[in-house]
């Protein structure tokens, strides 16, 4: 699926846990991705798929041959305190190359202290951390030869020492590195709910012209927390009215996909002015 621009609506490819008896269980039923007309791309989480062969690799190969794909990652630890692991960057690059992925969505956070922490933490937004993170984003972009999309993630804490809010931090990173912004609306809704800030104001402070990927869903909290889910869906028109119509939107399941299509049709462009 080379030379395809990522646009329209996509689905996150659901992971299948690694277990020797996977084959005996629901695998076969799960093997074929549904192919509704609305689906234009798939999103592949590196932490769930990288390095897997066998039926996992086969399923991934089938999906990425059929649709253009976006690489979702939370493993580069862009704001991490240790060394930037160039081996991880290289492995991610090889994975993207193998599946002809041209778009990388990387969590804006830190997820290791030289070895993985298996979660993504917020970067203390100091001037030093800003430069530190920008330098690492530049290193990743140089190594991979493509712009990184930095993606906002859900947080449980506002780190101490912060000299600016996350929207300002993102804005500065874009200025310093030329990276793109990937907007996770569910994470934004969660954070605004948890820390009591105005999500629309956050959007206004972002360089919306640099947003070239939008995600909806992808949160455990959102799937069980109906009001939060509604907040995320209410934010969607505001986001869509500020980004280019061709910006791709990724959702978690088919019901969401249908709902997204309806929502996109109803959204007047430029309803809100940034």
């Amino acid at each position: 699926m080379n030379n395809h621009r990522i646009t329209g609506a996509g689905l996150a490819l659901k992971p299948t846990p690694i277990a020797a008896n996977t084959f005996d269980t629901t695998w076969q039923a799960d093997l074929a991705l549904p192919a509704p007309d609305q689906l234009q791309f798939v999103e592949i989480a590196a932490e769930q798929w990288l390095g897997l062969g066998g039926i996992w690799g086969q399923r991934l190969q089938e999906a990425t041959e059929r649709w253009p794909s976006v690489c979702l990652s939370g493993s580069l630890s862009l704001g991490g305190p240790g060394r930037l692991d160039m081996q991880v960057v290289k492995q991610l690059g090889a994975f993207m190359h193998k599946h002809q992925m041209t778009m990388l969505s990387e969590a804006l956070g830190w997820s290791d202290d030289d070895t993985p922490l298996f979660t993504c933490l917020p970067i203390p937004a100091t001037q030093d951390a800003l430069q530190w993170t920008a330098d690492r984003i530049t290193q990743v972009q140089d190594a991979l030869g493509l712009p990184v999309g930095i993606r906002n993630v859900s947080h449980h804490a506002v780190p101490p020492m912060s000299a600016m809010n996350e929207a300002e931090f993102i804005h500065e990173l874009v200025n310093k590195t030329g990276c793109n912004v990937h907007l996770d609306i569910t994470a934004l809704a969660e954070n605004s709910h948890r820390f009591g800030f105005d999500a629309l104001a956050f959007l206004k402070a972002l360089p919306m012209k640099r947003v070239n990927y939008v995600r909806l869903g992808g949160s455990d909290a959102a799937s069980t927390d109906a009001p939060l889910n509604q907040v995320a869906w209410r934010l969607l028109p505001a986001v869509l009215s500020h980004v280019h119509p061709a910006v791709p939107v990724c959702v978690d399941d088919l019901a969401q996909l249908k709902r997204w299509s309806d929502c996109a049709l109803k959204t007047p462009t430029k309803a809100l002015v940034c």
């Binding site: 020797a20 897997l52 290791d112 979660t119 933490l121 100091t126 449980h156 804490a157 101490p160 020492m161």
Partner: protein, 251 residues
Amino acid sequence: MLNDFREFQFTFARHLRDPHTAPLPRGVSAEQAAAYERAMFKNLCDVLNPAFPMTRGLLGEWAWRATVRYFLRDAPAQTPWPRIVLREFARYLRESPVTRDLPAWLNDVSHFEWLKGAVATSALVLPEAGVEVDVTADLMTHIVVMNPTYVEVSYDWPVDIIDLDHRPDEMQTTYVSVLRDVSGAVQVVPSNVFRAQLLALFNDGITGSQAFQAMAAWLQHPNPEDLLSYGPDLLAQYQREGVILGGKIAA
């Protein structure tokens, strides 16, 4: 000297890995730190739990969770990719001092579980690129092509019969062949020393006849022709099991 923010991050990470010993850094509440600990634990268990159902069941939930927490504390996984995490966890179960007091047979069980998952997800393809296989070839006269995912392993304990209701009393050397068949399913086949030795010979790219002659010499068999007469049936059996893919087509 580290910048302040990095100092904070390292301190925070140490606390998250070992909350009872390493202090919480200033500026983070205990509740916030606990939320991250839960997230780390859950994300790691999402990978580990499905891959080690028997080990987890035999350990019991309390010991399993404790082991996962020690693994987070000691941080042996160098990269976050699932196969690496599973491999390092299996190694940790066998080698870490914190698991020293577990029953010896548990080492074999966890290794066996890890091995099956590793074979299932191996990036090797069948047959290997560039190798042409004739599945109908006479294996006695053709170079035998092995399944590249096939692994021969021996355990001190009877891993194939241990489960939640059968914990072993006695050691019993157990040979198994583990492989992924052409449909992608993992197969475990009981094995033995003779079979393991014979199958290892095919790594050198030889015919069935050559392999049985070598075995006859190794066993100092008084009548090699007798041993060779078993060849076609045994090789056909190995091919049915998926250990042997077929005969090599000459380039």
